[in-house]
């Protein structure tokens, strides 16, 4: 019999057997969305891919965008769980389970996207029978299969001690199938020394293996595009760009999911601000690298102005795809601002923070909107205004100051609300990364060489199937965490032991004397 800390039991194990009304409603809603998407997909299968908005030359559309986005999201698990496990980062413990679950479901839904996109999905097996070694799609199928198996294995290994805990702590009134399920999946785990030794070994090995597999999947997926001769795709940095984007969006999605479960299941005690602060550091690094790659990727095309490539970029900068391109850039700028700038605010602004909150902020906002109307769209106003030039200038000055105040107010708000501001950044990044995938695929396929330039808008079928896919991405973890705890109980318990041991260590206080100065006649401030 394995026993569990009674506190963990009330917070993590007992809720698994309670199903509330909100859960039922959400479940019904998600099943409804999936059912509708399934019906539309059935229609697409029986009638043909003509039901999508695709055409010649836009042979790839939203399904492909979703595919790349979803495998990007799945990078979270690899990074958080495997990389942090190997580097011994203790703050990872409460979020590894959610990260790995997100990976598994992200990958499964991503694999479905390929199925949705195929004209003859029933011939999928041919890839493994008649596969052509040169085809990047074959590499991708191989890599994806490996990654799905590896991440499922990693999730299960990491879950094993917790399943055994569940098996030994099934409440008396629980349904029979659940105790049977736990008994089956626990594989006879007793928690003895030899079992732990083997488990540690397996977890470390999978952690080492899963990182190259994850990187290879994202790289190979980028090679689907960069090994063709199509304008805009033939880029050497597309591989690392995809990997960076994957980690970036993976952290964003992870933050969103972690926060939802934290709030809804009352896990504040386990997932603390420390986790957010650590993830924030990672997030900032990824956003800087992302901007660097994006800039490089586009600069080379601008500089070359090649006849076939430049129209693709032009369509992003000021053509058909300007809204999605600048939308992406705008969202990323907001995310980076929210992550970085609050830390850089001078201290005197924080003393003024009452000026930038509550009614003051509301007043500033309303005035700013009104002034924008007066300054930019005077013909829209119900009355006519004739402003003297100096008044006009004054209004401009006030408008700029108000906007500045709003930005400062927002930044100060972000500084006070770490978690909420992180969620804003995460949503911006996740949406921005979806748009980034769109901006990579669609502008190129609409600007081919010897076929007239085309346009593309997803059809209702594609939108329904996309909605169903994202519903699956929500439903999967939702059901999973009704069967298994969302926090890795044993890892957290292990972390407590480590923290207790670390508390015993006495760190000698630093010496009060400063280092000897090299320049003895330097000006010193009088004390």
């Amino acid at each position: 019999m394995l026993t569990v800390n009674p506190h963990d039991k009330t917070l993590l194990i007992d809720p698994l057997y309670r199903i509330g009304i909100r859960f039922r409603l959400l479940f019904l809603f998600l099943v409804g969305v999936i059912g509708w998407g399934g019906y539309m997909y059935y229609h697409q299968i029986t009638v043909g891919l003509g039901e999508t908005g695709l055409n010649r030359p836009v042979f790839w559309g939203v399904y492909m965008v979703n595919f790349i986005f979803l495998i990007g999201v799945s990078m979270a698990g690899t990074l958080i769980s495997a990389a942090l496990q190997l580097t011994g980062a203790n703050w990872r413990r409460p979020i590894t389970r959610i990260a790995e679950t997100l990976t598994v479901f992200g990958l499964l839904v991503a694999a479905l996207q390929i199925l949705f996109d195929m004209g003859r999905p029933e011939r999928m097996g041919s890839i493994f029978i008649y596969g052509r070694l040169q085809s990047p799609l074959l590499w991708d199928a191989t890599s994806l299969t490996l990654y799905i198996l590896a991440s499922m294995g990693a999730l299960f290994m990491q879950l094993l001690p917790d399943i055994a805990l569940l098996r030994d702590n099934v409440p008396a009134n629980a349904p029979k199938w659940r105790s049977f399920l736990y008994r089956l999946l626990a594989l006879g785990w007793r928690g003895n020394r030899e079992q732990w030794r083997r488990l540690e070994k397996v977890i470390t090995t999978t952690s080492i293996l899963i990182i190259p597999i994850g990187v290879s999947l994202h790289t190979v997926t980028s090679w689907i595009f960069s090994t063709t001769v199509q304008p805009g795709w033939k880029s050497t940095i597309l591989g690392p760009y995809f990997v960076v984007g994957a980690v970036f969006s993976g952290i964003g999605m992870l933050l969103i999911v972690v926060t939802i479960f934290r709030q809804r299941m009352g896990l504040q005690e386990y997932i603390q601000e420390q986790q957010y602060r650590s993830l924030k550091a990672l997030f900032i690094v990824m956003s800087i690298i992302w901007f660097y790659f994006t800039y490089t990727e586009h600069l080379t095309i601008v500089a070359g102005q090649e006849v076939m490539e430049f129209p693709v970029l032009a369509s992003k900068l000021w053509g058909t795809f300007a809204p999605t391109f600048w939308g992406m850039v705008g969202l990323m700028v907001v995310a980076t601002w929210v992550l970085i700038v609050p830390n850089l605010l001078p201290s005197f602004l924080q003393e003024l923070s009452p000026l930038f909150s509550g009614q003051w902020l509301l007043g500033q906002g309303i005035t700013a909107v009104f002034l924008s109307l007066v300054l930019f769209m005077p013909e829209q106003l119900p009355f006519t205004l004739s402003l003297a030039p100096d008044i006009h200038t004054l209004l401009w000055v006030i408008e700029v100051m108000l906007l500045l105040a709003l930005v400062i107010g927002f930044t100060l708000w972000c500084k006070r609300h770490l978690i909420r501001s992180m969620i804003i950044a995460s949503v911006c990044v996740v949406v921005g990364m979806w748009l980034e995938r769109w901006n990579i695929i669609i502008p190129t396929v609409t600007h081919p060489r010897l076929v007239p330039y085309a346009t593309y808008l997803p059809s209702p079928t594609e939108l329904s199937v996309t909605a169903a896919s994202f519903a699956m991405l929500v439903l999967g973890p939702l059901l999973f965490f009704k069967l298994f705890p969302a926090i890795s109980i044993w890892e957290v318990a292990e972390g407590r032991v480590i923290a207790a041991a670390e508390a015993q260590i006495e760190i000698p206080a630093p010496e009060p004397v400063g280092p000897k100065r090299k320049r003895p006649f330097e000006f010193r401030r009088p004390n």
């Binding site: 042979f59 999905p121 063709t228 001769v229």
Partner: protein, 242 residues
């Protein structure tokens, strides 16, 4: 070795689109409804189109337009981008240099259609249908075998199709020569578009035979290939106007 190639003399071409029509009837190309064609879903193994097809600063505006008509079958590249990317070898290059497409193998991933820089590959968005009148006159020729259907054979929805240089005509010509007890000659085999060309602008033959017409025309200073810079080495050779 044989290496089938086509030469198109743009000086002779009158852009009558006879080649496109002949191809359509020879190969049972599915017809699509007008609104589908509007969406860019028409299937034309052989196509006549202005070059450059997308207006640039160099094409100019009426009346100073600098454009011309090109007619385009599949290029049957020596280094075909479509073949390399197919994950199931549904499209492949045979020993005579023809890039072929097996409808029974194709999984409809459309990687080849995306990878082809010439845009000569087409996808069946719906199940091909013909009006009863047209259905009576479908060509019975087909290149079939176990797990294989090519050329004019019936297509299903969700697969890619393309010009095959009338591969069924090659097989028929070989069978004919064998039945007559003589050796197969390159002149026995000619695709439908070449046979029908009003202005006799198209030539067809074996590029590996230095005495063939296509080999001689390839040496012509007017000869050029489409998109030579992408490194596909097409086996459709154009002769420049003028």
């Amino acid at each position: 070795m044989t290496s089938w190639a086509m030469v198109i003399d743009l000086d002779k071409c009158v852009a009558c689109q006879g080649c496109s029509i002949a191809c359509r009837f020879e190969n049972n190309t599915p017809v699509v409804a007008p609104e589908q064609a509007q969406k860019g879903r028409a299937i034309r193994w052989n196509d006549v189109f202005p070059d450059p097809i997308n207006p640039t600063e160099e094409t100019g505006e009426y009346p100073f337009v600098r454009t011309r008509y090109l007619t385009r079958p599949c290029m049957h590249c020596v280094n075909p981008p479509c073949v390399k990317v197919c994950p199931v070898q549904a499209t492949y290059r045979d020993e005579e240099g023809l890039v072929r497409q097996n409808y029974d193998r194709c999984i409809g991933c459309r990687f080849c259609t995306v990878a082809c820089p010439y845009g000569v590959r087409y996808f069946n968005w719906y199940q091909p249908e013909w009006t009863p009148e047209l259905a009576q006159h479908l060509s019975p020729d087909a290149v079939t075998g176990p797990g294989r259907s090519e050329g004019p054979a019936a297509r299903m929805k969700g697969v890619v199709e393309k010009c095959t240089f009338c591969i069924h005509r090659l097989q028929k010509a070989r069978a004919q020569a064998e039945a007559e007890g003589r050796d197969f000659r390159a002149a026995d085999y000619v695709p439908a578009c070449v046979q029908t060309c009003t202005a006799k602008a198209r030539y067809f033959g074996d590029l590996d035979d230095p005495e063939s017409t296509v080999s001689k025309l390839e040496q012509n200073p007017r000869a050029f290939r489409l998109l030579e810079d992408v490194g596909t080495h097409p086996k459709v050779i154009y002769l420049r106007e003028g």
